[in-house]
Protein backbone atom coordinates (compact mmCIF):
# COMPACT_ATOMS: atom_id res chain seq x y z
CA UNK A 1 0.00 0.00 0.00
CA UNK A 2 1.35 3.40 -0.93
CA UNK A 3 0.52 5.56 2.05
CA UNK A 4 2.40 8.62 0.87
CA UNK A 5 2.32 9.46 -2.75
CA UNK A 6 5.30 11.62 -3.57
CA UNK A 7 3.92 13.61 -6.48
CA UNK A 8 6.20 16.19 -7.80
CA UNK A 9 4.86 18.39 -10.46
CA UNK A 10 5.36 22.08 -10.92
CA UNK A 11 2.34 22.81 -8.79
CA UNK A 12 2.18 20.11 -6.21
CA UNK A 13 4.98 19.43 -3.75
CA UNK A 14 3.11 17.73 -0.92
CA UNK A 15 3.39 14.58 1.16
CA UNK A 16 -0.28 13.62 0.97
CA UNK A 17 -1.89 10.20 1.10
CA UNK A 18 -3.13 9.15 -2.32
CA UNK A 19 -6.74 8.92 -1.06
CA UNK A 20 -6.53 12.50 0.17
CA UNK A 21 -5.20 13.66 -3.22
CA UNK A 22 -8.18 11.92 -4.78
CA UNK A 23 -10.61 13.74 -2.49
CA UNK A 24 -8.93 17.08 -3.21
CA UNK A 25 -8.89 16.69 -6.98
CA UNK A 26 -12.04 14.69 -7.74
CA UNK A 27 -14.97 16.63 -9.09
CA UNK A 28 -17.82 14.15 -9.25
CA UNK A 29 -20.45 16.90 -9.17
CA UNK A 30 -19.21 18.21 -12.49
CA UNK A 31 -18.24 15.45 -14.91
CA UNK A 32 -17.01 17.92 -17.53
CA UNK A 33 -14.35 19.11 -15.16
CA UNK A 34 -13.52 15.63 -13.94
CA UNK A 35 -9.79 15.02 -14.09
CA UNK A 36 -9.95 11.23 -14.02
CA UNK A 37 -7.90 9.39 -15.00
CA UNK A 38 -5.02 11.42 -13.60
CA UNK A 39 -2.29 12.47 -15.91
CA UNK A 40 0.93 12.16 -13.95
CA UNK A 41 4.11 13.76 -15.20
CA UNK A 42 7.26 12.05 -13.98
CA UNK A 43 10.52 14.01 -13.85
CA UNK A 44 13.90 12.31 -13.82
CA UNK A 45 15.97 15.32 -12.82
CA UNK A 46 15.83 18.43 -10.59
CA UNK A 47 14.27 16.64 -7.62
CA UNK A 48 12.88 19.39 -5.32
CA UNK A 49 14.95 18.25 -2.35
CA UNK A 50 14.13 21.36 -0.35
CA UNK A 51 10.45 20.51 -0.48
CA UNK A 52 10.14 16.74 -0.55
CA UNK A 53 11.66 13.91 1.42
CA UNK A 54 13.58 11.66 -0.90
CA UNK A 55 12.33 8.10 -1.06
CA UNK A 56 15.44 5.99 -0.47
CA UNK A 57 13.87 2.69 0.48
CA UNK A 58 10.93 1.24 2.38
CA UNK A 59 12.49 2.34 5.68
CA UNK A 60 12.05 5.99 4.62
CA UNK A 61 8.34 5.34 4.30
CA UNK A 62 8.24 3.46 7.60
CA UNK A 63 10.02 6.31 9.44
CA UNK A 64 7.67 8.86 7.90
CA UNK A 65 4.67 6.78 8.90
CA UNK A 66 5.80 6.45 12.51
CA UNK A 67 6.70 10.09 12.95
CA UNK A 68 3.29 11.07 11.55
CA UNK A 69 1.71 8.65 14.02
CA UNK A 70 3.71 10.32 16.81
CA UNK A 71 2.47 13.72 15.76
CA UNK A 72 -1.15 12.58 15.89
CA UNK A 73 -0.50 10.88 19.24
CA UNK A 74 0.96 14.14 20.57
CA UNK A 75 -2.14 15.94 19.33
CA UNK A 76 -4.55 13.65 21.17
CA UNK A 77 -2.66 13.08 24.40
CA UNK A 78 -0.11 15.91 24.71
CA UNK A 79 2.85 13.54 24.25
CA UNK A 80 3.93 10.70 21.97
CA UNK A 81 4.13 8.12 24.74
CA UNK A 82 1.57 5.72 23.27
CA UNK A 83 3.81 5.18 20.22
CA UNK A 84 7.06 5.29 22.20
CA UNK A 85 5.72 2.64 24.58
CA UNK A 86 4.65 0.21 21.86
CA UNK A 87 6.84 -2.87 22.04
CA UNK A 88 9.13 -3.51 19.06
CA UNK A 89 6.93 -6.50 18.28
CA UNK A 90 3.80 -4.33 18.23
CA UNK A 91 5.54 -1.70 16.10
CA UNK A 92 6.58 -4.22 13.47
CA UNK A 93 3.18 -5.89 13.62
CA UNK A 94 1.49 -2.51 13.02
CA UNK A 95 3.76 -1.72 10.08
CA UNK A 96 3.60 -5.19 8.54
CA UNK A 97 -0.19 -5.37 8.83
CA UNK A 98 -0.44 -1.96 7.13
CA UNK A 99 1.80 -3.12 4.27
CA UNK A 100 -0.22 -6.32 3.85
CA UNK A 101 -3.62 -4.63 4.31
CA UNK A 102 -4.23 -6.97 7.23
CA UNK A 103 -7.19 -5.18 8.80
CA UNK A 104 -7.55 -7.38 11.87
CA UNK A 105 -3.93 -7.27 13.00
CA UNK A 106 -3.66 -3.57 12.21
CA UNK A 107 -6.59 -2.76 14.48
CA UNK A 108 -5.34 -5.09 17.22
CA UNK A 109 -2.47 -2.63 17.67
CA UNK A 110 -3.98 0.61 16.39
CA UNK A 111 -6.91 0.46 18.81
CA UNK A 112 -4.33 0.82 21.61
CA UNK A 113 -3.45 4.22 20.12
CA UNK A 114 -6.98 5.56 19.80
CA UNK A 115 -9.18 3.87 22.39
CA UNK A 116 -8.21 5.80 25.52
CA UNK A 117 -10.43 8.82 26.12
CA UNK A 118 -10.60 11.64 27.04
CA UNK A 119 -8.52 13.15 24.26
CA UNK A 120 -6.93 16.58 24.62
CA UNK A 121 -7.59 17.47 20.99
CA UNK A 122 -8.85 16.00 17.76
CA UNK A 123 -6.05 14.95 15.38
CA UNK A 124 -7.61 16.42 12.24
CA UNK A 125 -6.79 18.57 9.27
CA UNK A 126 -9.31 20.41 7.11
CA UNK A 127 -8.45 21.13 3.48
CA UNK A 128 -10.48 24.09 2.30
CA UNK A 129 -9.89 26.87 -0.23
CA UNK A 130 -6.32 25.70 -0.93
CA UNK A 131 -5.33 25.98 2.71
CA UNK A 132 -4.80 23.41 5.44
CA UNK A 133 -6.40 24.16 8.78
CA UNK A 134 -5.06 22.39 11.84
CA UNK A 135 -5.64 23.73 15.34
CA UNK A 136 -6.37 22.65 18.85
CA UNK A 137 -9.96 21.63 19.60
CA UNK A 138 -10.37 21.09 23.32
CA UNK A 139 -14.16 20.56 23.15
CA UNK A 140 -13.60 17.11 21.65
CA UNK A 141 -14.80 15.27 24.76
CA UNK A 142 -17.96 17.30 25.31
CA UNK A 143 -21.27 15.50 24.86
CA UNK A 144 -22.87 15.90 21.41
CA UNK A 145 -19.86 17.41 19.65
CA UNK A 146 -20.12 16.83 15.89
CA UNK A 147 -18.19 17.66 12.74
CA UNK A 148 -20.31 20.83 12.53
CA UNK A 149 -18.84 22.13 15.81
CA UNK A 150 -15.33 21.64 14.46
CA UNK A 151 -16.13 23.49 11.23
CA UNK A 152 -17.81 26.37 13.08
CA UNK A 153 -14.71 26.65 15.27
CA UNK A 154 -11.97 26.30 12.63
CA UNK A 155 -13.67 27.91 9.63
CA UNK A 156 -15.47 30.72 11.47
CA UNK A 157 -14.78 33.23 8.68
CA UNK A 158 -16.93 31.26 6.24
CA UNK A 159 -19.32 29.27 8.44
CA UNK A 160 -21.73 30.22 11.19
CA UNK A 161 -24.90 28.72 12.68
CA UNK A 162 -26.98 30.25 9.85
CA UNK A 163 -24.81 28.93 7.01
CA UNK A 164 -26.45 26.62 4.51
CA UNK A 165 -24.26 23.56 4.91
CA UNK A 166 -26.10 21.90 2.01
CA UNK A 167 -24.10 24.14 -0.33
CA UNK A 168 -20.93 22.31 0.66
CA UNK A 169 -19.55 18.80 0.57
CA UNK A 170 -17.54 17.44 3.50
CA UNK A 171 -15.47 14.61 2.10
CA UNK A 172 -13.57 11.86 3.88
CA UNK A 173 -12.29 8.70 2.17
CA UNK A 174 -14.29 9.61 -0.96
CA UNK A 175 -17.54 9.77 1.02
CA UNK A 176 -19.78 12.74 1.70
CA UNK A 177 -19.91 12.94 5.49
CA UNK A 178 -22.90 14.34 7.39
CA UNK A 179 -21.91 17.33 9.48
CA UNK A 180 -23.96 15.83 12.32
CA UNK A 181 -21.56 12.88 12.67
CA UNK A 182 -20.10 12.69 16.19
CA UNK A 183 -16.54 14.00 15.96
CA UNK A 184 -14.90 11.65 18.45
CA UNK A 185 -16.43 8.68 16.60
CA UNK A 186 -14.99 9.99 13.32
CA UNK A 187 -11.58 10.30 14.94
CA UNK A 188 -11.66 6.78 16.33
CA UNK A 189 -13.10 4.96 13.33
CA UNK A 190 -12.57 7.01 10.17
CA UNK A 191 -9.03 8.29 10.61
CA UNK A 192 -6.42 7.48 7.96
CA UNK A 193 -3.85 4.82 8.94
CA UNK A 194 -1.65 7.68 10.24
CA UNK A 195 -4.48 8.39 12.72
CA UNK A 196 -5.25 11.80 11.26
CA UNK A 197 -8.68 12.80 9.97
CA UNK A 198 -8.12 14.46 6.58
CA UNK A 199 -11.39 16.24 5.75
CA UNK A 200 -11.86 18.07 2.45
CA UNK A 201 -14.50 20.84 2.17
CA UNK A 202 -15.80 21.80 -1.28
CA UNK A 203 -18.38 24.40 -2.16
CA UNK A 204 -20.94 23.07 -4.65
CA UNK A 205 -23.35 26.05 -4.77
CA UNK A 206 -22.98 29.77 -4.12
Amino acid sequence: MVLYKLMYTNVYNKHYAVGLLYDIFENSQNSEKSILPWEITIHFSDFPKNKLLKFKNLDTLKDTYFTTLKESDYMRYGNANKIMCLSLEDQSSLWNSLCKLDFKNFWNINSKLLANTPWLNISARIYYNNTVIQERFVDINEEGITLKNLILSWCSEDFNENSNFDNYRFILHGLNISIDTPLLWLGQYLSYPDNWLHIVIKQIKE
Binding site: K14, A80, V132, Q134
Partner: protein, 88 residues
Protein backbone atom coordinates in the same frame (compact mmCIF):
# COMPACT_ATOMS: atom_id res chain seq x y z
CA UNK B 1 -1.75 38.69 5.86
CA UNK B 2 1.43 37.29 7.34
CA UNK B 3 1.63 36.38 10.98
CA UNK B 4 5.07 36.29 12.58
CA UNK B 5 5.82 33.25 14.71
CA UNK B 6 8.67 33.08 17.23
CA UNK B 7 10.68 29.90 16.70
CA UNK B 8 13.29 28.72 19.21
CA UNK B 9 15.88 26.22 17.97
CA UNK B 10 17.47 23.86 20.48
CA UNK B 11 20.45 21.67 19.65
CA UNK B 12 20.24 18.02 20.70
CA UNK B 13 23.32 15.94 21.54
CA UNK B 14 26.44 17.25 19.81
CA UNK B 15 24.62 19.27 17.13
CA UNK B 16 26.34 22.67 16.57
CA UNK B 17 24.94 25.60 18.55
CA UNK B 18 23.46 28.75 17.09
CA UNK B 19 24.66 32.18 18.26
CA UNK B 20 21.10 33.40 18.43
CA UNK B 21 18.63 30.53 18.55
CA UNK B 22 15.42 32.58 18.32
CA UNK B 23 13.91 33.64 14.98
CA UNK B 24 10.78 35.43 13.88
CA UNK B 25 9.35 33.74 10.81
CA UNK B 26 6.36 34.11 8.52
CA UNK B 27 3.73 31.71 9.91
CA UNK B 28 2.24 31.09 6.47
CA UNK B 29 5.44 29.45 5.26
CA UNK B 30 6.01 25.72 5.28
CA UNK B 31 8.21 23.91 7.80
CA UNK B 32 10.71 23.26 4.97
CA UNK B 33 11.56 27.01 5.20
CA UNK B 34 12.89 26.43 8.74
CA UNK B 35 14.78 23.30 7.70
CA UNK B 36 16.47 25.07 4.78
CA UNK B 37 17.13 28.24 6.81
CA UNK B 38 18.89 26.32 9.57
CA UNK B 39 20.94 24.31 7.10
CA UNK B 40 22.26 27.60 5.71
CA UNK B 41 22.92 29.08 9.18
CA UNK B 42 24.85 26.00 10.28
CA UNK B 43 26.52 25.53 6.88
CA UNK B 44 25.52 21.89 7.16
CA UNK B 45 23.29 20.38 4.55
CA UNK B 46 23.08 16.72 5.42
CA UNK B 47 22.44 14.64 8.50
CA UNK B 48 20.25 17.16 10.25
CA UNK B 49 17.07 15.89 11.88
CA UNK B 50 14.28 18.14 13.11
CA UNK B 51 11.76 17.62 15.90
CA UNK B 52 8.98 19.53 17.58
CA UNK B 53 9.01 19.50 21.40
CA UNK B 54 11.54 16.65 21.49
CA UNK B 55 8.92 14.34 20.06
CA UNK B 56 8.23 14.08 16.34
CA UNK B 57 9.39 15.34 12.95
CA UNK B 58 6.75 17.31 11.12
CA UNK B 59 6.36 16.85 7.38
CA UNK B 60 8.24 19.57 5.41
CA UNK B 61 4.95 20.78 3.89
CA UNK B 62 3.23 21.55 7.22
CA UNK B 63 2.37 25.20 7.77
CA UNK B 64 4.42 26.81 10.55
CA UNK B 65 1.41 28.64 11.94
CA UNK B 66 -0.54 25.35 12.24
CA UNK B 67 2.37 23.77 14.12
CA UNK B 68 2.52 26.78 16.42
CA UNK B 69 -1.22 26.66 17.10
CA UNK B 70 -1.11 22.96 17.92
CA UNK B 71 2.27 22.51 19.59
CA UNK B 72 3.49 25.98 20.57
CA UNK B 73 3.77 27.03 24.20
CA UNK B 74 4.87 30.17 26.02
CA UNK B 75 4.37 32.19 22.82
CA UNK B 76 6.93 30.24 20.78
CA UNK B 77 7.42 27.07 18.77
CA UNK B 78 10.27 24.87 19.94
CA UNK B 79 12.24 23.09 17.20
CA UNK B 80 14.98 20.63 18.15
CA UNK B 81 17.71 19.68 15.73
CA UNK B 82 20.12 16.78 15.92
CA UNK B 83 23.02 15.30 13.96
CA UNK B 84 21.53 11.85 14.12
CA UNK B 85 18.01 10.45 14.54
CA UNK B 86 16.74 11.01 18.07
CA UNK B 87 13.64 10.14 20.09
CA UNK B 88 13.07 6.58 18.85
Amino acid sequence: MSEKIIVRFRAVGDAPLLKSPVFKVDGNKEFSTLINGLKIKLKQCSNLHFYINNSFSPSPDEIINNLYKCFGSGGELQVNYANMPAYG
